[in-house]
Amino acid sequence: MKLYLYGIVDSSNQIEEAIYGLRGCGVYSIPYRDIGVVVSEMGQATQGLTEGGVLEHEAVVEKLMADFTVLPMRFRTLVDGRDNLLAMMQSYYRDFKGSLERLRNKSEFGVKVIWPADKVKENIVNRLRSDQTEASGPRRSAGTRFMKEKFERYKIDEEFQTKADQFIKAMDMFLGKFAVEKRLETLKTEKLLLDAAYLVEKSQACDFREAFWHIKSAHPGFKFLLSGPWPAYNFVGLSKHDPARDAEQANLFAEVARSQALVGAGSV
């Protein structure tokens, strides 16, 4: 029997509400010590767990959010049988417990900002051209012109990046005040200036939203998207590795220590 995992919750109690997950399967919690893992039994067939299932997965996690602190699993995490599931819980318990504590009473907000990249670049080019006109000298050779053009492209890119950094810094100073953790990705594309996730205390959510609307109204030429509150998908990175990899790493360290002993590195 394959078990489909939706998330880890900070309680070993059973879910009181009837929840239906992927393909309408019943959702229940399997306790492990003082936490629980929320699953559906999927039988043998795992086909059909495609895009449509994403919404069903997310709907279950959202429902869990109402009553628990949740560590949402990545889509299509399947475990082969209850014994393997309990082995996984034993292996990851400390990590799960630590993350649940860290994320208690917090939720995630997504912020995306699109800026008028073409206009920003155009302004930079115009300014550079006007500087050049003022400082125009004698006719240059083809080689010099090539180098000059290359340098200009570099200057444009550099200034574009500087402007992006300045904006993001200013915005993040404002929003970051109300967040406990953040993940910022800048200039994923030329136009997508910022793709960010902020982890916000539930008690600070209103202030965070207010700060967002304030920034939005101050930048009429930009396009803003705020989404949330979400389960903390962006903040559940685990430090736990699989046991085989840990053992391999331990062996490697032992090997290095042996090599150092052989060459007398420890005595230096």
Binding site: T77, A87, D242, A244
Partner: protein, 67 residues
């Protein structure tokens, strides 16, 4: 599908397919084609024009309050 639903779906896909707890080890059945789904999604997300077309729509998903 409405524009607002599209944005909601993109936000959900970006999280559920690419983020969240990842368990490694033999006990977990690896489902490699998730990456393929996400690859397709990346193409969508990279298309900023997709988002630009959605400007001004009141995103009204169950959890969203984006503008």
């Amino acid at each position: 599908m409405t524009k607002s639903a599209n944005v909601t779906l993109l936000e959900i896909l970006d999280r559920v397919l690419d983020k969240g707890v990842v368990i490694s080890g033999d006990m977990v059945i690896s489902v490699a084609d998730v990456d393929l789904i996400y690859l397709g999604l990346k193409v969508l997300l990279s298309s900023v024009e997709t988002m630009e077309q959605l400007r001004g729509s009141p995103f009204a998903g169950p959890m969203q309050e984006a503008r």
